[in-house]
């Protein structure tokens, strides 16, 4: 196994001058390739803030974050955007897709940003849509897709760039439970069969159930970090803090 994310002692405080909100406090996090991790915790516990920090969308006030050995906290803005393009796949809660592009074009976009060849793009798009089970919807615009289908396309897009890991902030929050489970099944399958690393935040117990590792945040701090002992994912054992 090799390390994908290595976060040391990171903190993020909002409004430090007025009424400080300690959104993330002294978090240590170590993620290995192939992990399937849920970030849980009550609303306001800092899940989004932590994911933004890990995804290089925001900078911590303290600590550093190594992605595949690169300290992203020291990258300049443009280099950081480029780093995200090449190393991190994003799935947001909703509105992931460009409405004027078809599902296929949305997935292609990220590869075009990476200057992939047309033949490579065509080939990969086909595989990706097979994996998310939406081959017949490739040429459909987002508005014609259900919420669950849109999120699956977003996963395909995140995957298209061949990232180090995929980061998803409450990807199922706007989905009915059937669609949520379907999305999670696809993610779990990708994780299992292709060793794709996922970290996603959620408070849906049925989503948590499918995670292989669960990190619980309370008030911006890691409260517990447990890993499933068997493949059914029903029993978790605590992981020692570093």
């Amino acid at each position: 196994m090799n390390t994908v994310i290595d976060a040391h002692n990171i903190s993020k405080t909002f409004n430090p001058e007025t009424i400080p909100i300690y959104a993330v406090r002294d978090v240590h996090l170590h993620l290995e390739r192939g992990e399937f991790t849920a970030l849980v915790g009550p609303s306001g516990s800092g899940k989004t803030t932590l994911l933004n920090l890990l995804g290089g969308l925001d900078k911590p006030d303290k600590g550093n974050i190594l992605i595949n050995g690169v300290d992203i906290t020291s990258l300049r803005p443009n280099a950081l955007i480029d780093f995200r393009l090449k190393n991190i796949g994003f799935v947001f809660q909703s509105f992931n897709l460009i409405p004027v592009f078809t599902a296929r074009e949305n997935v292609e976009l990220i590869m075009q940003l990476q200057h992939r060849s047309k033949s490579e793009i065509d080939e990969r798009v086909k595989i990706l849509f097979q994996e998310i089970g939406l081959e017949e919807k490739m040429n459909t615009r987002p508005a014609q897709l259900s919420g669950g289908q849109q999120q699956r396309v977003a996963v395909a897009r995140a995957l298209a760039s061949k990232p180090q890991f995929i980061l998803a902030d409450e990807p199922t929050a706007n989905l009915d439970s059937k669609s949520a489970i379907k999305l999670l099944d696809i993610m779990a399958k990708l994780n299992k069969e292709e060793n794709i690393t996922f970290i996603f935040s959620t408070h849906d117990p049925r989503v948590i159930e499918r995670a292989r590792r669960v990190i619980t945040l309370v008030d911006g701090q890691v409260h517990s970090d447990t890993r499933a002992i068997d493949t059914s994912g029903e029993h978790f054992i605590p992981i020692d803090k570093e």
């Binding site: 955007i81 393009l85 994003f90 509105f95 409405p99 004027v100």
Partner: protein
Amino acid sequence: MWLLKLAWKNMWRNRNRTAITITAVFFSVILSVLTNSLQEGVFDNLIKNVVSFYSGYIQVHKSGYWDEQILENTFENLPELQEQVIQIDNVEAVTPRFESFALASSDTLTKGCMVVGILPEKEDAITQLKNKVAEGNYLKDGDEGIMLGEGLAHRLKLQLNDSIVLIGQGYHGAMAVGKYPITGILRFGQPEMNNQSLYMTLSNAQVLFSAENRLTSYVIGLENTNELDQTAVNIRTSLGDTYETMTWEEMMPEVVQHIRTDKGSMVIIQLVLYMLIAFGIFGTLLMMMVERKYEMGMLIAIGMKKFKLMQVMMLESLFTVLSGCLLGILVSIPIVVYLYRNPIRFKGQLAEVYEEFGFEAIFPTSTNPEIFLNQGVLVLILGLVLSLYPLVKIAKINPVTAMKK
């Protein structure tokens, strides 16, 4: 390529807004082309009227003639001198004139008049004098008769075929007296011309005023009237100090002043027009940025460089503004051409002023292609400058805040 595709598809995502922008640009181009074309057309027409009316575009006199119009300030009509002028670039035609004041009498009445000696055909080529003939015939070389303004004839109670007596002072103080049959009556719109002018052949005039082979002026017609000043300079250099070369602008500064004042007020109207266009376009840009903030944040988050996003926006603006411009130009061409063929006729006080000067009371348009190009490009630039606003906004986007609901 996909940048183009994204820009193109973005352009159609909010059809109403794009339609509003294109329409705004479209009407701006039409309006500014029309105002400009009308302005140019009216002034071209005015100049053409004024110039063809009498003065020609350029005149050559003996030095000092314009300030003191006496026969001592005439010059000798040398064939080589005329040849020298006609050789100069852009000079299309030259006609000699002899002009002097005289008293015109019928049996009972006497009025002052301006006697103009001309070469009939050459004069007509430059000032279209033939068009002014109301009765009788236009002069021919060797004719003994004269043509006079309708007003002058009326004041002297004279008609076609009557005789007229002219008395004046000739060259070097000689007496000038002559009796001529009236073979033509001219109708000028401008009262001064109508009431005072009298035309005869150049040789008759020179005989009358005892000024054999002398001239007051060469009247010059041009091939390209846009090169007025340069041509005047060339003539001036070629002829030297003995002669004065004057453009119609120098001979009639009041007309130039009138045009300048009018152009000034046109500039203000156009500025207001451009401001309205600018606000229209800016409004749609503001709306668009609010609408797309989340999406732009998302694109930056997943790894699209801001510069790429700016390119997309710029292309999108270019498509929109350019289509408005092209449509505007396309539609304005037939309108301008129609108004050129069927000029707007106006009535009222302004029309009276125009007619007094012998001009038709019309607002023709100018079909100069430069107008379409200039106005199209101006609106295009205006649109593109305004679309720098989204670029500035993009430069400031922070994906985390942009994606916050």
